[in-house]
Amino acid sequence: MTQTAILFADNDRDFIETWAEFLQNEGYRVIAAFSPAEARSKLGQEHVDAAVIDIRLVNDDDEKDNTGIELAKEICRSVPVLLLTGYPSVEYARQVLKPQLDGLPIAYDFIAKQEGPEAMLTTIKRTLDLAKHRDFSKRPAEKSIYRRKLRLFFSRALTAVFVTFPRTIGRFILEIGGRQPSDPTATLFGYVIVVFVILVLLGVRVNTVIGWFVNVWRFFFPQ
């Protein structure tokens, strides 16, 4: 039977060696990588069932080092990722487990080095198990993503046509006249302009349209 291959990426050689030994004893094949570049290269060469990646993959002392997260973002749609850190924080948990723009998180799970080997093993097993139910060639949330994109497209199109466009025109013309209109005023004025243009394009004479507008104005504001 083929062994389950785990890519283990961490810049600390001693740490990886200890973990590799532990995981090998548990029946896994460990592919070690000591840098993001090495991890990418190994992922290109070998089949990997899951990747365990340290968040600070270049410099443990640099709290801005997010190279592990960057690497996870690149590969997480093709390999199940488990992110590891010696500096667990709420912010890290949010970054890696919050759903991203395609509705899925970067990592299947997040674990602190301090939690020890048993927690690591349980988390790896859980990740592999969860990954079995995910088809990496087709995201499970795809259908709902398309539905949402379609909804977004229509809502943006409607907003652009019925709100943004008349408001921009109204604002533009009123600002030329030296006024600073509020949004509703600009939108209303924009509508007036749009109706005016449509009527002129439909062949109604400009003077007639202006006459109509003046009459409507007088009707609402007799003074």
Binding site: R94, K98, P99, L101
Partner: protein, 123 residues
């Protein structure tokens, strides 16, 4: 478009509650419910976001899971008084879209919720 929010809280701090509702007013309407009548309120109408107040709700994860069972497309966020990374992990593992402190300022809360709604639209 105005959103509908459902806030699940057992709080008795009416001042906090009304300030929360007021803060989110530019984004939409907030309907508050207690843990007890959460299901009933949840099923009444579609909500863009359900916010669970983990400071007063005993089992936020199981409550979120209950909502996901009832409506798999629903988005749930959790706020808490003292955020911890372990709780963040447990909650986010359950599929919750965000986990944030209850102590955010009005502006920060607005930004956080707006971001969640924006992410929802982008998906």
């Amino acid at each position: 478009m105005m959103a509908n929010f459902l806030l699940i809280t057992n709080t008795s701090q009416t001042g906090w509650l009304s300030s929360f509702v007021k803060t989110l007013a530019p984004l939409g309407n907030v309907q508050a419910a207690t843990e007890k009548n959460a299901n009933e309120e949840f099923l009444k109408r579609p909500y863009e976001l359900v916010i669970i107040d983990a400071a007063t709700v005993e089992e936020p994860v199981s409550l979120a899971q209950k909502f996901y069972k009832l409506k798999p497309d629903v988005r749930v966020a959790v706020m808490t008084t003292i955020p911890t990374w372990r709780e963040a992990r447990d909650i986010l593992r359950a599929g919750v879209v965000d986990y944030f402190p209850r102590t955010l300022s009005g502006q920060e809360l607005l930004v956080t919720i707006r971001t969640i709604l924006q992410e929802e639209i982008n998906q």
